[in-house]
């Protein structure tokens, strides 16, 4: 039963006050996209064993969507941040780095590079 800080309200919200929305930072592919790009946007998800960047909505609260960096193995949370961004803020990336020095349960290396 997770407890996440809504970055808009600044309060710890219970999982039952939230709705999850899957992987964050997906790029929308519109009418001109190739089949492969569209497939990636619509269907292909990372499902990592380790750190995931994901979307949550404070549904029983302010109604806003926010992003969370969470480890799917240990349920550690590295921080939450507003959804109006294309990549996680540096403080989140630093927190992940500081707690994931080895290879185990870290952020997928493509992502780590893309967002650093």
């Amino acid at each position: 039963m997770l407890k996440l800080v809504c970055p808009y309200c600044g309060i710890e919200a219970d999982e039952t006050e939230l709705v999850s929305g899957g992987e964050a930072h997906l790029k929308r592919e519109g009418p001109d996209s190739t089949d492969d790009d569209f497939e990636g946007y619509l269907f292909l998800r990372e499902n990592p064993k380790g750190v995931i960047l994901e979307r949550w909505r404070h549904a029983m609260g302010c109604g806003k969507w926010f992003h969370v960096a969470r480890c799917t193995v240990t349920q550690e949370v590295f921080g939450t941040y507003p959804a109006q961004t294309f990549k996680p803020p540096p403080r989140i990336m630093e927190e992940i780095k500081s707690r994931r020095t080895g290879q185990e349960n870290g952020l997928n290396s493509d992502k780590a590079e893309k967002f650093s």
Binding site: Y8, C9, G10, I11, E12, D14, T16, E17, A59, M60, G61, C62, G63, K64
Partner: protein, 181 residues
């Protein structure tokens, strides 16, 4: 050791003639802050709070939404005034006096009765006077705030008011209420 009480339980009363205005806009804007204070006499509350002056309260609903609570008869005129004062700035101001039901909760052990149905931290140092907390009550979305330990308020959607009343009644049955707050 936790004490138990028998008989002394809070009551839930539905309030009539409460006017409510939905106000969406850029809460950081000077125009907005001035418009609100000039039109209502109440300052825009900070995050997670409700500010009250006389019969008007303003609650922080989200980073771009306020809820104005005031006597019903003032609603029409105030909306006009606010729209005028906001000028060309993007806003959504709407009379939603009938959208939600407002309850007043009176009596002892209110925190305990609410704690049976809401996952929020109701400890006295966390849920303080001036806090406006949106959360759930059982299975419905609500918001709580209070004037004193023995006088609280709750709002929920109008269509869910009956559920809120029934759930409150069940939760405040005379019997054992563990006094923990």
């Amino acid at each position: 050791m936790a004490k138990s009480t028998v008989g002394s339980t809070p009551k839930l009363n539905l309030l009539d003639d409460i006017g409510m205005i939905l106000f969406r806009g850029d809460l950081k804007s000077k125009t907005l802050q001035n418009a609100i204070v000039e039109a209502t006499g109440v300052k825009v509350p900070v995050r997670g709070k409700i500010s009250t002056e006389d019969k008007t309260s303003i609650a922080w609903m989200s980073p771009d939404e306020l809820l104005l609570i005031l006597p019903l008869e003032r609603v029409g005129e105030l909306i006009e005034d606010l729209n005028h004062k906001m000028g060309k700035e993007d806003t959504l101001i709407w009379d939603i006096s009938d959208l939600r039901s407002v309850f007043e909760i009176e009596g002892n052990f209110i925190r305990e009765v609410l704690a049976k149905n809401t996952p929020i931290d109701l400890n006295r140092d966390k849920m303080r006077k001036g806090t406006f907390r949106r959360t759930r009550f059982g299975q419905i979305a609500v918001a709580f705030w209070f004037e004193s330990e023995t006088k609280w308020f709750m709002i929920c959607r109008r269509s869910e008011a009956e559920y809120a009343q029934q759930l409150f009644e069940v939760s405040s049955k005379p019997g054992e209420i563990p006094s923990v707050f």
